[in-house]
Structures are given as C-alpha cells and as structure tokens.
Symmetry: C2
Subunit: 245 residues, 2 copies
DNA sequence: CGGTGACTTGAAGGAGGTCAAAATCTGTGG
DNA sequence: CCACAGATTTTGACCTCCTTCAAGTCACCG
C-alpha cells in the first residue's frame, strides 16, 4: 500500500478546495512524514497528551472532544476530510482536547514544528493555516450558540443541516443521494449537550414529521425549509472554498 | 490626546506578553491605522457586518456574541487587553458574530488586509496570529464544555476562575486586591447559556457559601480550592505567555 | 423625585435529565 | 446456521434543574 504524493492528493481536485501553487504543494510534501490508517472509535490524540503531531484528515470522519473527570463528554467539532488537526494545542503544550475517529480514517502526519516551517517557508500557507484555524473556531462558535441558546429540536435541526452541508461539499452529487452519517445518537447527544434519551426522542419526532431521514449510516434532509426555519439559520448556501494543507 | 507608538505600547512590557523584535513591532506600527475609543455597551462590530477592520483591544473589556432572530443571545468569549479581534470573519466575508464593549475601551485599528501583510512581511508575526487564533478557539472550547456538560454551579465557578486568571495576569499584584469585573449578571447568563434569574440565584448561593465575592465591579476569589473542585479544573496555574499584535 | 437599569426573591411550570427495560442489530465463535 | 455478548436504538415513568412570570428593592441620574 503505497502512499500518495501531495500533488496527487485525491482531495485537492475537489471544488471545495482552493488551488495551490506547485511550490506550496511541494512544501507540504516535504513536511509530510507519513500516512496513518485507523479504524472507527480509535483515539488519535489523547486529552492531555503532550507533543502530538499535526494531521490532515484525508478520509473518514472524526471528532474533537473534552471530558470532565466523572466522564461527562462534550464533542467540540466533527472533523471531515480536509480538516487540519492539532493547531489548538499550544506549542509544546498538552493537548487540551482529544481526537477520536468515527469511521475508518486516513491521516497525513506532520511533525509538530511543521506549523512553524509552513509559516516560515510560505507566508501564503501560513495564512491558510490561520484561515483554517479561524474557520474551525467559527464552527465551535456556532455550536456554542446552539448549546447555549437553542432548544433540543432546534439544536438537532442545526446540526443536521450543518453536517449535511459539509459532507455534501465533499461529494459530486452535492448530497442528492444523501450523505454519509456515521454518528451514533450518543455522538449527537455529546455534540449538543443533550442526554442520549432526549436526543433519541427528539430525533424520532423530527423524523416522524418528515424533516429528515437517517438510515444505514446515511442522512437525507427531507424538508430543508422546515429544518432551516427550526434552526433559525440564515443566508449561505454551500460552505466557502477553503485551503487544504 | 496623542496616540501611542507600538514600541511604547503600555501592554508590551507586561510579563504576560512575549517580547518582540524591533522589526516586528515596526511592521505592526506600519499597519496600525489609528486608535479608537469607545464607551461601555457600544457595538464595535455588528453581526453580519462586512469588511470590518481588525483590532487589538488595548484597554478595557468587551465580548464577542451571536444572537438568534428572536433575540436570544450567546456570548462566545470575553475580550481583555491584548486580545486580537476580527480574524474569525473569513476574508472579505460577513462577520459571523458581533463585538460589544463592557467598559470604556481603547482599540488599535488595522486594515482588514493587514492580516495578510502581517503574514507576508513576517512569518513570525503570522505564526503569532495563528497562535492567538488557536488560543481563542480553545477558550470557546472550554466554554462549550461548560455550557454543554456542566451544571449551573459548575459553570459559574469555571467562569469566575477563568476570568479571574486572565484579568489577574494583566495586573502587577496578580489579583491580590481582586480584579475588575465589569460583567452584569445578564452577561454571565448569556455567556453560560443560563437564564438571568437562575444565574442570580446560583451566584448568590456560591457567594453565601464564601466561594467568591463580587462588589463594586470587582471580583475576589475567596475559596479557590472549592471553586476549582466545583469546576473540575485541573492543572495550570497562570495563563501561558502570549504574543501581542 | 420619577425613571431606568441592575439585582433579588418567590412561586409555578416545563424542557430535558435519569432510571429501567425491552427491542434491534451486529459481530463472533461454535 | 444458531447462540450469545455487546452495542445501539426505543419507550415509558418519574423527577429536577432551570426557565418563566411577577414583584419588589436599590442605586444612580437628569
């Protein structure tokens, strides 16, 4: 099983991602250490782990999370292909959050100091990192608004729409045939600050009303209008084009 | 009232901030457009505003927030002196959140494209921006854990500790005489996803138990041990040294 | 001294949590 | 192909933490 060269990265051609100069791709290539395969439910980064490397998620789904000492868990963001992982752990410090896979996943691995090398060798790529980091933060901002101020129904509607859009942007059909949806209800609960039971009941209610459909690990939005109204989401069609590292 | 040169910025000498080369300071200086003074409760950036400039908060307190169309508000992070503002609004796009002052405040104003200039002219400063952005995200991560998984008591304990630490790091006495605390209970409520009434009752309960004391716009932690236990916060003494832009 | 914003307190109700148990489903090994 | 263990989903019953509603206090200010 041979590793892919960054210039031939299967993600790069997708319309979701911005083009890069050959130089830039070459720099990324030079910093890439290896690839890493993981199964579902495996821990990529442990909470409190020190000096974890950087990763780009190339295939599959994962999530970032934090836990309290009695086991309560909050999922911070879900990670999809193209997401860059590990910037948040401040330099040389312990990771403030864990990362766990949801599906079979493939990661490109970079040494920790690549962060600095990327900035040093290419301001443009440095800028891209900043962009990606800021974008990640805005995902957390959205979730915080949900968890802090939306009802259970509204939270779930919001999550379904947002995840659907992100997943659809990675497909050619734009989600016409649904999108992969590898979350269990426990993941949804932990991502929205709800209990498992209440998540189940709310999910069933929305599905019975015909707003969405989840089956066999795939998600369909059946009544986007109604979902958007519930979520009080405005504007924006698909996610903006984004840099890839 | 004449403006301060960056090399003479009163924040820079504080032990909280990392030193910078003269070149770096010069670059920042060259990008700084002006200073801007605001009173308490004023809106620096409106939600949805396009093309807002960048700011560094030099004096005072502020906060980032999002609202739903029916008025429910979630405060995302509180901003203290040294915080860099505006990176989250993705390039040229609309601001996804608003920024409002809590106190009399002073901002250093930078043009929007300074973000790129900073990266271009100094990889080190670009790296600093990334660092600050990642750090901001980790603050939101912490809040999301609170709002999603902590009880009202625990949330308030967590907030008090975290804000105290940040504010104390800006003072010489390290908080011995308390720290400024310009939040109303409504701000606390909106920052923690609670109702005003319940915030009040919980706050009173903690204060009556002798865990903290708020008076006259200042906060004292009376029983840090108990607060930390409640918050389930581990490790870390004071916040890490951070870059200043 | 009336008006406004922040704080406080009590009472009542509800959204969502907890507990318990059953129904599926899935993979595994015999 | 079946039995069994372990996840995951579903439902019902009950309870509580927190919200909402209402009112009153206090400080400050024009």
């Amino acid at each position: 099983m041979t590793e892919v060269r960054c210039s031939a990265c299967p993600l790069r051609p997708l319309p979701l991602f911005l083009r890069n100069d050959d130089d830039e791709v070459a720099i990324v290539q030079s910093l890439k250490r290896r690839e890493m395969q993981m199964g579902p439910g495996e821990t990529l980064i442990h909470e409190g782990q020190t000096n974890a490397p950087l990763y780009t998620l190339r295939e599959g789904w994962a999530f970032r999370y934090k836990t309290l000492s009695d086991g309560r868990r909050q999922i911070l963001t879900f990670l999809l292909a193209g997401d860059f992982i590990g910037v948040q752990q401040k330099m040389g410090d312990a990771a403030a959050h864990g990362v766990m896979t949801l599906t079979d996943s493939l990661f490109c691995v970079f040494q920790r100091d690549s962060l600095w090398e990327l900035h040093r060798q290419s301001p443009a790529m440095g800028f891209n990192i900043t962009w990606l980091t800021a974008h990640e933060e805005s995902l957390v901002d959205d979730t915080l608004l949900s968890v802090g101020r939306r009802s259970a129904e509204e939270r779930i509607a919001t999550l379904l729409i947002l995840l659907f859009k992100r997943a659809a942007a990675l497909q050619d059909d734009g989600g016409a045939a649904g999108v992969p949806f590898p979350l269990t209800q426990q993941h949804i609960a932990d991502g929205l600050g709800l209990s498992l039971v209440h998540t189940n009941k709310t999910l069933r209610k929305l599905e019975r009303r015909g707003l969405h459909h989840i089956e066999d690990g795939r998600l369909w939005l059946r009544d986007v209008k109604a979902l958007v109204r519930l979520a009080d989401l405005y504007g924006d069609g698909r996610p903006p084009q984004r840099p890839l590292v």
